[in-house]
Symmetry: C2
Subunit: 191 residues, 2 copies
DNA sequence: GTTAGCATGTAAGGAGTTACATGATTTT
DNA sequence: AAAATCATGTAACTCCTTACATGCTAAC
């Protein structure tokens, strides 16, 4: 169910909010952010930047020479339309917001999202993970002949990892709710 | 670094070792095995099966009618050359063996791999994860201005998850070594 | 009667990788 | 003298997804 989607685009938009950057530097930051195994290639980043230029989400500045090699370095900035797009995407609470690839990126920029959106995305993510746990457990119950040591060990570890993430999300949701509650007038909560 | 690679092929080969299966059933098993978010589409499975037919890794049997719909159901079997290929891949100890997508599949079929290979793959995987931890920690040390609550919270959780997986691997490695030691003559271990 | 599950496929397209191409500077 | 880091790109390709196409049976 949908693992696609402009992963890089949102991350670039978010990073450029903190200040202008050139491609090479951008890739390093992106790798830190997407981290955990994914190493983005230039063949993927540069075409993505060109595409974003064409759709006016960012603008380029070729006039800055690189300090180390004399070569012209291309510095990118978010445009106003890019800022709008970023805001729009960060306020989105559709299913794509809590899928594996996108969740991490959105979470990284959570400070830029309204508290209400944060809560919805966290809850959506938790529900998705709980659905997976339910599915795996159901399949396991219907298919109890699995005797292989390694296959079941992998399963056990997988389930535990997901359960751990669910607990992590629950803590964050709780904190987010408490934060919301002392912003709204106490005693005026929806009954 | 390389997340591609015939992920499905190895999994299909492994599953068919346990007995012949048709596409629809194969997809269900595959989804359980790759689990955790990945839901394989038919548009991905059927062409892969055709390709494997062409390269003679599997053979088809069209003569079996489906019990539920009367429609002809296509049952696949591993060929001898498929078994060879599976053995070859399961004995492989190159870097692809411990990358994210492939590691899980190889691990699932670890019973079919020689104990030596298991040990190498587990150690390779652990080393890979430790390299990632080192890289992330290094980047963090060089870049200490990260003050954003959410970004650093995500990082913390990521590091903890990877550390957990490293501990899991260490336990498995230990068990695998003990298993090897009581197979080789005791007291003859390499000094 | 309509939803869910069984069952197999194709065509178009997206997102990203690998490999190639180039070249300067700094560190080992 | 070699390797690493800086810096930007293109072309070909791969793997996989989405959407489409078809039709039957069982359960609600």
């Amino acid at each position: 169910m949908s693992r696609r989607g402009e992963t890089i685009e949102l991350a670039v938009l978010g990073l450029l909010h903190e200040g202008p950057l050139h491609g090479y530097e951008l890739r390093k930051r992106l790798n830190l952010m997407l981290g955990w195994g994914r190493v983005l290639s230039y063949g993927s980043l540069y075409p993505a930047l060109k595409k974003m230029l064409r759709s006016r989400l960012i603008s380029e500045d070729t006039s800055v020479p690189a300090p180390v090699t004399g070569r012209p370095r291309i510095v990118y900035r978010v445009t106003e339309s890019g800022r709008e797009e970023f805001r729009r995407q960060m306020a989105d609470v559709g299913p794509t917001a809590w899928e594996d690839d996108t969740f991490g990126i959105r979470f990284s920029f959570f400070s830029s999202a309204p508290s209400e959106t944060r809560l919805r995305v966290l809850e959506g993510r938790r529900t998705r993970l709980e659905e997976r746990l339910a599915r795996v457990r159901g399949d396991l119950a219907r298919n109890p002949k699995k005797a292989d040591r390694y296959a079941s060990e992998l399963h056990r570890h997988g389930v535990e990892s997901v359960e751990r993430e669910v607990r992590w999300l629950s803590d964050l949701i709780k904190a987010e709710r408490e934060h919301q509650e002392h912003r709204t007038a106490p005693g005026t909560a929806t009954p």
